[in-house]
């Protein structure tokens, strides 16, 4: 969900007029304050009127129309040529691919009660591939991690997840790398692609699922397709970036030697951007893992199902066990691909005598792996993971014990905290948003957009508000908006405190940053589990999970912004006699204003995607509408509309904050 902020260069030309204007006009904070005062006054007068609230089971015409549309698609799925020759074909191909990989490693294949390759073969293969592509350390990690899945009693679920990831990443790379190369070579194509990529990555994972089910039904195939759409952009973007960044001189040197376009692509551009592209592949794999687990909502098999069911039945122990498996898989995949991108560089540095042994060792490893695969294909002991997952049940029961203890002993504390935030901040704000007339909130949003981001952002906000009203889930959208904003405010407070701390001290940065990096690797889903244990199934759980999910990115951006403030400026301030607090508030924070705005942008988008996932654990509102839409046919239309509302909120936030960031940058 990273969003590339456009470079703030363009605004510079328009800016010279600003100082004169600024002198005449009231300052921005005053205008924002005025907007809020007007809002509060009107709210007091008009409270509860025209709020567009809609009961859980109520539908609007739009929702019913989508339902009908869905039904008619269902009825004509096998007769409409568009489906017959296009969507169904795609679905068939993807489905075959998924089924093939599943039969290979996870699901019983044909007449066999076990997959073609059993656990021993898969573990061996994982270790071998990790070693060949990375190094022996990550190979050990991979072997340990995969064995751990078996010990947890989640072998088959893990393999289902892995199968979906493999298929999705394969298909994604099939498109993403050529598109990335094209975008790297052609400026025009890059300009066309960028807005699409921005859009694809801004959307919360969740949102992809609903519309896809319309065309591809539920199940593994649509899960894979959704994952492809979500996971491809990082590779496209990074490949294009890598191609663009190949030294111009080197390309020119190849030209001067008479290289054809093809030769300079194959021998210069691609090899020189390989390392960076592998980093893109890493991001694609991590995005795929996040999406595949969430795709449990549309019946994708795998670990996500375990987490989802456990979350819905509030079974923290089971959810934790499955969540742990996802975390382990995330760590293994991340480490292995990171090591793969660094391998060539390291191999080059090491002495040559080592390289001489590498080839025979690789061959030997291949033989061993083939033997392991053969064993696991032939013997049941090597095919079916032995034991009954006792480690998993231990983990689950230990978690339950811990949860019970926490609920018994900490409930006073956690409940007090929860109630303080809920009653002190969340409820009043939510009331303000949901009980105001819709046109008032809409006007406030548009006005804020204009003040913060300029007229263009205002127009975007106006369009989004209009469409939000049209979706019929205005009231739910406002509830989600309230949670999102509260969470974002908290994210920014955390972000500024830790970001400034990290930015000012290299040591703190070194200590905290690895944790933040690890936190960002996890699929959003997993965050819910521990907070579910602490705070029960409430809106607040979702908010805390969102804060934990969104804060790392904000912290990192702010820390980088603080560090980018020139040393000499700080030195000048110190020599002028500033104390630490003055340096932070008068020099470092104002000078990293564009980083702050960017952090707000990213924080908002991360939080939004999490608050929506929170619909699973009682956060209600849009997230709940979407989830309910998946499970109940008559709510399908409403769920889709809610998904659309999430998109609109995302676009609105993104545009306003990006426009504000551009202003701050100028």
């Amino acid at each position: 969900m990273t969003v590339a902020i456009e470079k703030p260069e363009k605004t510079e030309a328009a800016e010279p007029a600003a100082p004169a204007k600024g002198a005449r006009k009231v300052s921005r904070p005053v205008m924002i304050g005025a907007i809020f005062v007007v809002w509060l006054v009107l709210f007091a007068v008009l409270r509860g009127k025209q709020t567009l609230s809609l009961a859980v089971a109520d539908l609007t015409d739009l929702h019913r129309w989508i339902n009908d549309f869905n039904d008619s698609i269902g009825a004509n799925r096998n007769s409409n040529p568009l489906f017959l020759y296009f969507f169904n074909e795609i679905r068939l191909v993807i489905d075959n691919l998924v089924t093939f990989v599943q039969h290979l490693i996870s699901q019983p294949s044909g007449s066999r009660p076990v997959p073609e390759i059993g656990w021993l073969g898969v573990v061996g293969l994982a270790g071998y591939v990790s070693w060949a592509a990375g190094n022996w350390r990550v190979a050990l990690l991979a072997v340990a991690g995969f064995t751990f899945f078996g010990l947890q009693g989640l072998w088959q679920e893990s393999m289902d997840t892995l199968a979906l990831i493999l298929c999705a990443v394969f298909v994604a790379l099939l498109f993403a790398i050529p598109l990335g190369v094209w975008a790297g070579l052609s400026d025009r194509f890059n300009r066309i692609m960028t807005p699409f990529l921005d859009f694809m990555q801004t959307m919360p994972t969740f949102v992809y699922l609903a519309p896809l089910t319309l065309f591809f039904l539920i199940g593994g195939a649509s899960a894979t397709i959704a994952t492809v759409i979500y996971a491809a952009p990082p590779t496209i973007r990074i490949t294009a970036h890598a191609i663009r960044n190949v030294s111009k001189t080197t390309v020119e040197a190849a030209d001067s030697l008479g290289a054809t376009r093809r030769q300079s692509l194959l021998k210069v551009l691609l090899p020189m951007s390989k390392r960076t592209v592998v980093m893109g592949v890493n991001q694609t794999i991590m995005a795929a893992l996040a999406m595949v687990t969430i795709a449990a909502l549309i019946n994708a098999p795998g670990l996500g199902v375990n987490v989802l069911q456990a979350l819905q039945s509030l079974d923290v122990g089971t959810a934790f066990n499955a969540g742990l498996a996802i975390v382990v898989m995330a760590i293994v995949l991340d480490r292995v691909t990171t090591a793969a991108s660094a391998r060539e560089e390291n191999a080059r540095r090491s002495k040559n005598r080592f390289v001489k042994w590498r080839r025979p060792l690789l061959g030997l490893g291949a033989v061993v792996t083939v033997v392991l695969i053969y064993l696991s294909h032939t013997y049941l002991w090597a095919a079916d993971f032995p034991g009954d997952g006792t480690v998993g049940s231990h983990i689950a029961s230990a978690t339950d014990t811990a949860t019970n203890w926490a609920q018994d002993h900490l409930s006073g504390l956690t409940n007090a905290f929860r109630d303080a935030i809920t009653n002190g901040l969340l409820n009043p704000f939510q009331t303000l948003l949901t009980d105001s007339p819709w046109w008032l909130v809409g006007a406030v949003l548009i006005a804020l957009a204009v003040v913060l981001g300029g007229w263009k952002a205002g127009i975007t906000a106006a369009v989004c508000v209009g469409l939000l009203v049209a979706t019929g889930v205005w009231s739910d959208a406002m509830t989600t908006l309230a949670s999102t904003i509260v969470a974002t405010v908290l994210v920014m407070i955390l972000g500024i405190v830790f970001g400034v701390w990290m930015g000012r001290s290299m040591m703190v940065d070194r200590m905290i940053r690895p944790t933040l990096d690890a936190a960002q690797v996890m699929p959003p889903f997993v965050y819910l589990v521990p907070f579910l244990a602490l705070f029960g199934a409430t809106r607040f759980t979702a908010i805390v999970a969102a804060i934990v999910y969104g804060a790392p990115v904000a912290m990192k951006i702010i820390a980088d912004g603080i560090r980018a403030v020139p040393e000499t400026t700080v030195e000048a301030a110190t020599s002028a006699g500033c104390n630490t607090w003055q340096i932070i508030t008068k020099v470092q924070l104002p000078m990293s204003r564009s980083a702050l705005t960017l952090a707000t942008n990213q924080g908002l988008i991360y939080v939004l995607s999490m608050v929506v996932v929170g619909g699973l654990v009682g956060a209600g509102a849009l997230g709940y509408d979407v989830v309910a839409g998946f499970s109940q046919g008559e709510l399908y239309g409403k769920g889709l509309a809610a998904g659309l509302a999430i998109v609109l909120l995302g676009v609105m936030f993104d545009r306003i904050t990006q426009a504000a960031a551009r202003r701050a940058g100028a």
Binding site: S247, T249, T250, V251, E252, A253, A254, D255, S256, L257, G258, A259, T260, Q263, K267, V268, P271, M272, K274, E344, R348, N352
Partner: protein, 361 residues
């Protein structure tokens, strides 16, 4: 000290051979910007200064109406400050940048007429280029970098590796074949660049400020290396630099450019001895004149009372070399070419140059 003794000798080559030039550049223009191709044709626009042209049309004329010939075996230096269009000019010669107007004649054919295939062929076999920032491939070993051009031609692995190995030894990189570029110092990386250019055995070598990124000591080594290689392989070279001492040291002839135009083209002693305008004069002001000027530039016509039985020297002997002989002789030295007396040089003339006084010519 080897360089100075070589100077007169090298200087002789292009004039003596008198053969057809390797490259002739005629009325070459390169204009960047919208409707660039209209600028060279328009008399009015041609007359504008660079700044006026920018304001009028939004175009930048990087190379404006440049003409010169490069003789076989010559080191032809193009010199100018940054922004003078020299790097653009050299790229126009191999069409790495497409010229806007004019001719670049090579082997009797205008390179601008060549189709893609012919152009590629020229680049593969006839030309090669050494770049300021090396442009090496970081993922290939030194020997594979050197063999890159041969690989592009489609030469087999064994053959190209053998040839690359020879060139690696020629440029003094033996023992580093299997290193990667980022393990080498800047000077050694540029040797790789040089080897890559030499590997294809081209007719003409282009150097685009090849030593500007190197520190002064390494730069001097590399300049001597180029001189040595020029002796050993005798290639025609077109050398771009912003450094006058480098130009004087390497160049048989030097073209000085300013704002895309040629200011003066001639041998080093011509530039120092007879600057075309104040710009060149300012440029060559700090050059140690004794190192560059030859006796031809400082001799005077014999007058009555001069004793004409002193030792004889050729007109192309550099002042610095002649100093000892002139000062040692108790009579003025006669400057003689082909048995004909051109003039005489006495202690006074020599001291005027060596002591750094102005107005030698």
């Amino acid at each position: 000290m080897t360089t100075q003794t070589e100077v007169p000798q090298r200087r002789g080559t292009p004039q003596d051979s008198g053969s057809t030039p390797v490259i002739s550049v005629r009325r070459l223009w390169k204009v960047f910007g919208p409707k660039a191709d209209q600028v060279p044709g328009s008399e009015e626009l041609c007359g504008l200064t660079r700044r006026e042209l920018m304001d009028r049309t939004g175009c930048t004329a990087a190379v404006r109406d440049v003409n010169f010939d490069v003789s076989p075996g010559e080191v032809f230096v193009v010199m100018g400050l940054s922004g003078s269009g020299k790097s653009t000019l050299v790229r126009c010669l191999t069409r790495l940048i497409e010229p806007t107007a004019g001719e670049v004649v090579f082997e009797g054919q205008d390179i601008r007429e060549a189709d893609d295939k012919r152009l590629r062929d020229l680049r593969r076999r006839k030309f090669s280029m050494v770049f300021q920032h090396f442009g090496l491939l970081p993922h290939r070993r030194v020997v594979d970098n050197v063999a890159f051009g041969l690989e592009i031609r489609g030469m087999g692995r064994a053959e190209r590796t053998r040839r690359a190995q020879e060139v690696v030894e020629l440029v003094g990189l033996a023992g580093y074949e299997n290193s990667y570029p980022d393990q080498l110092s800047g000077g050694m990386q540029q040797r790789v660049g040089l080897a890559r250019a030499l590997a294809g055995d081209p007719d003409v070598l282009f150097f685009d400020e090849p030593f500007s990124a190197l520190d002064p000591l390494i730069r001097r080594d590399m300049q001597n290396e180029v001189i040595r290689l020029h002796h050993e392989v005798g290639k025609t070279m077109v050398f771009i630099t912003h450094d006058l001492s480098e130009a004087l040291k390497l160049g048989d002839r030097i073209l000085i450019m300013r704002d895309g135009k040629m200011v003066q083209c001639g041998t080093g002693d011509e530039l120092v001895g007879a600057p075309a305008d104040d710009y060149v004069r300012e440029f060559v002001k700090d050059v140690p004149r004794g190192d560059v000027l030859t006796l031809r530039w400082i001799m005077r016509a014999p007058e009555d009372g001069d004793e004409l039985d002193g030792p004889e020297l050729g007109p192309d002997v550099v002042v610095k070399e002649a100093t000892r002989a002139v000062l040692a002789a108790d009579k003025p030295v006669k400057v003689v070419e082909n048995g004909k007396l051109l003039g005489i040089v006495g202690d006074e003339e020599i001291l005027a140059v060596v002591a750094g006084q102005e107005g030698g010519a």
